[in-house]
C-alpha cells in the first residue's frame, strides 16, 4: 500500500454512502435479535463498493442485481476517513467496471472492520 500511487478522491464527499453486499453467512445476530455484518465484510485489501453519488439514475438496491440473496449495507465515506488517511477511497469505474464502482484501499486492521460494523446502516436489511 505504501507504494500504491492512488490517493483519496476528494470528489467523493464525506456524506457519500458506500454500498456493500453482505451474504447470509456473513451475518451476526446481536443480543437484541438484530443482525449486523461480520467485521470481515469491511476488511478486504481493496474493498469493493458502489458510491452513492455515482449511481446516477439508479437506486442503491441496484447493487444487489444478480445477488438477490444478499443484504445491502452502507457506511459513509466520512466514517472510513475518520479511521485515518491510510484508507483512501478511489473511483474504479473505468469500463467495463460499474460506473459507480469504487474501492476503499489499504490493509485494514481488525479495529477498522469492527468500527465499520458498528456504524454501518442497512439499506436492505436481512430477511
Amino acid at each position: 500500500m505504501a507504494d500504491d500511487p492512488r490517493k483519496d478522491d476528494p470528489t467523493i464527499l464525506d456524506s457519500d454512502r458506500l454500498f456493500r453486499r453482505v451474504k447470509p453467512n456473513q451475518l451476526v445476530r446481536l443480543p437484541d435479535g438484530s443482525f449486523r455484518p461480520s467485521s470481515d465484510v469491511f476488511k478486504n485489501l481493496e474493498m469493493s463498493v458502489n458510491i452513492e453519488s455515482l449511481m446516477v439514475g439508479r437506486s442503491p438496491e441496484d447493487t444487489l442485481k444478480g445477488y438477490e440473496d444478499c443484504s445491502l449495507t452502507s457506511v459513509t465515506a466520512g466514517a472510513v476517513r475518520q479511521r485515518g488517511p491510510q484508507f483512501p477511497i478511489v473511483k474504479d469505474n473505468a469500463p467495463p467496471n460499474d460506473p459507480a464502482h469504487g474501492l476503499v484501499l489499504g490493509k485494514k486492521p481488525d479495529s477498522f472492520g469492527s468500527a465499520m460494523a458498528r456504524v454501518h446502516q442497512w439499506v436492505v436489511a436481512p430477511k
Binding site: R21, K23, P24, N25, Q26, V28, R29, L30, P31, R36, S38, S39, D40, V41, K43, N44, S48, Y67, C70, P109, D110, S111, S114, R118
Partner: protein, 189 residues
Amino acid sequence: MPELAEATYNNTPVFALQQQRFLANLGTMPATDVFSRSQRTFTPAYAPKVRPIEVTFQAGNHLVTLQYRDSGEGLPPWTRKVLTSLSERWGVGRGWDSYDAKPTELRAAVSLLNYLSSILNPLTAPPLITPLTDGGVQAEWHTDSIDFEIIVPTEGPVRFYCYNHATQQEEEGLLNSAVSQVTRIIGSL
C-alpha cells in the same frame, strides 16, 4: 440462511476438556488431528489413557471427519454449536461473498477448533463462526457489553480483537502473545 447441517458424534454424546494448556505452536498440526495438541506436548506419567473420538461435520460440499483425542472427559460442551455454525457458514467456492472471497479452508477451521479447545472453559458460551474472505475463519461473541473476535487467517498468526461498549476501549493483538489478556476477556463473556 444455508441449510442447517448437524454435527454428529460417533456414539459419543458428550465432550470434555483436556488438561488446559495454551500452546505456542498450535498452528503446526496436521489438518485432521483436532483437539489433540495438548496431548502431544503434555504427557506426564500419570496422563490418562487417550481414546479417539470421531467428529463429523459438513464442510461445504464435503463431510469431514475429525478426530478428538479424549482423555476421559469427553467433548467440550461448545463443540456441537461451533461445528454447526461452521457448517452453516462455510464459504463454498471462489467468490462466495459475491465479490472475490476464497473458499473456506479446512486447515483454518481445524486451527480454530484447536485454539478454542485450548482457551475456552466448559462454561464459555459457544461463539458464532463466520468465514473470512481470505479462506480463514473467525469466532465471535457479541454481548451487551463487549464484542470479541478470534481471527484465524489463512496466512499469518491468529489474532484477537475486543471492543468494550461501555468504555469504547479496543484491545487487539496476536493471540499467542496475549494469553492472559484473552483468558480474562473470555472469562467475562
